[in-house]
C-alpha cells in the first residue's frame, strides 16, 4: 500500500521523518522546558535523532549487514570479484562506525551534564532553571 504525501512515499521516508521529529522534540525540550532533568533528557533525544539520521543515510535497499560471516561466504574462494559481488549487497558500514563513536560521545556529555545537575541541585535545592539563573548577561 503506497501512501503519498507531497509526492513522497511515507513508508520509505519514515526513517527520515522520525529522525527529524526526534531532533525537533529534543530541541524543543532543550529550549523551552524549565526542569534541568528534562533539558538533559532533551539533549539525549536530540542525540538519538541525529544518530538515527546518520544511519538512515547509509541504508542500501535490500542490503544486509556488512559482516562477511561464514554463512555469507559459503565456501566461495576469497577472490576480489567474489568479495566485490557480495559487498554490493551490503549496507554502507561507515555511518554505523560514525554513529558508534557519536553515541559514546553523546553518552559522555550526558554523564557530565547530569553530574552538573546534581551539583546545581545540591547548591540551590531546586531543579527549576528560572530560579538558578544567577549570572546575568
Amino acid at each position: 500500500m503506497e501512501m503519498k504525501l507531497f509526492d513522497i512515499d511515507i513508508i520509505e521516508y519514515g526513517f527520515f521523518i522520525t529522525a527529524i521529529a526526534l531532533v525537533l522534540i529534543g530541541l524543543y525540550a532543550v529550549l523551552i522546558k524549565k526542569s534541568l532533568i528534562k533539558i538533559v533528557i532533551g539533549l539525549s533525544i536530540l542525540d538519538s535523532g541525529i544518530n538515527l539520521l546518520l544511519i538512515t543515510i547509509g541504508y542500501v535497499k535490500g542490503g544486509t549487514a556488512p559482516v562477511f560471516s561464514p554463512s555469507v561466504i559459503k565456501d566461495m574462494p576469497l577472490t576480489m570479484e567474489n568479495i566485490k559481488k557480495i559487498s554490493e549487497g551490503m549496507v554502507d558500514p561507515i555511518p554505523q562506525a560514525l554513529v558508534l563513536t557519536a553515541i559514546v560521545i553523546g553518552f559522555g556529555v550526558t554523564a557530565v551534564a547530569l553530574s552538573l545537575v546534581i551539583r546545581l541541585y545540591r547548591h540551590h535545592q531546586t531543579l527549576n532553571i528560572d530560579q538558578i539563573k544567577n549570572l546575568k548577561w
Binding site: 523551552i32 558500514p93 558508534l100
Partner: protein
C-alpha cells in the same frame, strides 16, 4: 510568547531539513564511488576481519576510536571532578527501598552470565556484530544490576582505575608500536591469519578487547560515582 516563537522556528527548520533530505533517494547512494567501496573489500581480503564495521572503527578510523576512548576517560574524570566533595570522596548511598528476595537471588545467577555475554561480545568483535563498546556496556550493566540489588555492594575504586589506565595505555602503545614496526600509527603489524577465525585480524581484536575492558571499567566507575555521591 517565547514558546510560539520557538515552535515556529523549529517547524521552519524541520521543513527545510526534510526538504533537503527528501532529495536523497532512500536506500540508494547518491555518490558514484566512496571510501566504503575499498573498506568493504579490503576488510575481508587484506585485514582478514569479517566484521567490516569493526575494521573501520579499529583500523581505518582507529584514530577516532582513540579520541572516543579519551572522551569516555574525560567523562569519568570530569564527573569525579564535578562531584568531588573534599577529603571524603564517596559518601553513602541513598537507598530508597531494599530489593526483594527475587532480585537479590536472581542477580547472583545473572551476574556471571551477563559478564560472560559481555566478554563474548567484545572478544568476538571482529567476527560478529558487536565489539569493545557494546561488550563493555554489557559488562557495566552486570555491575549495575549487582549495585541495584545489593545496597552495600562495593567495587574497588583502585581496581577500576588501574584497569582503565592499563587498557588505555595498551591502546596507545599498540598504536605507537604500529608506528615503529609498520610505518604509521595504529598500523597493523601482527599477522592477519585466516578470515573468520578467532585469531585473525592482527592487532584488531587485541585493541578491541582492551577497549571493552576500558569501557566496562569506566562505565562501572561512572555509575559508582553517581550512586555514592550523597553524604
Amino acid at each position: 510568547m517565547k514558546r510560539i516563537l520557538v515552535i515556529a522556528l523549529l517547524v521552519v527548520f524541520g521543513i527545510y531539513l526534510a526538504q533537503a533530505l527528501f532529495m536523497l533517494e532512500f536506500g540508494q547512494q547518491f555518490f558514484e564511488s566512496g571510501v566504503k567501496d575499498l573498506y568493504l573489500t579490503a576488510s575481508p581480503l587484506k585485514l582478514k576481519v569479517a566484521n567490516t564495521v569493526t575494521a573501520i572503527v579499529v583500523n581505518f578510523r582507529g584514530f577516532d576510536t582513540l579520541g572516543e576512548v579519551t572522551v569516555l576517560f574525560l567523562a569519568t574524570t570530569s564527573m569525579a571532578s564535578i562531584l568531588y566533595k573534599g577529603r571524603h570522596k564517596l559518601g553513602k548511598r541513598t537507598v530508597l527501598f531494599s530489593a526483594s528476595n527475587i532480585v537479590t537471588t536472581g542477580s547472583k545467577f545473572l551476574f556471571p552470565a551477563i559478564i560472560l555475554l559481555g566478554a563474548y561480545v567484545f572478544i568476538h568483535g571482529h567476527l560478529t556484530p558487536g565489539g569493545g563498546f557494546q561488550g563493555g556496556t554489557i559488562v557495566a550493566t552486570g555491575f549495575l544490576l549487582m549495585l541495584l540489588a545489593y545496597s552495600d555492594y562495593k567495587v574497588s575504586h583502585i581496581v577500576l582505575s588501574v584497569v582503565e589506565s592499563f587498557a588505555g595505555i595498551t591502546f596507545a602503545t599498540i598504536g605507537l608500536f604500529g608506528l615503529v614496526y609498520g610505518g604509521s600509527f595504529l598500523e597493523n603489524f601482527l599477522p592477519t591469519g585466516i578470515l573468520n577465525n578467532l585469531v585473525s585480524g592482527g592487532v584488531i581484536p587485541i585493541i578491541y578487547i582492551a577497549v571493552g575492558l576500558k569501557v566496562g571499567a569506566e562505565l562501572t566507575g561512572l555509575i559508582y560515582i553517581a550512586l555514592n555521591e550523597k553524604d
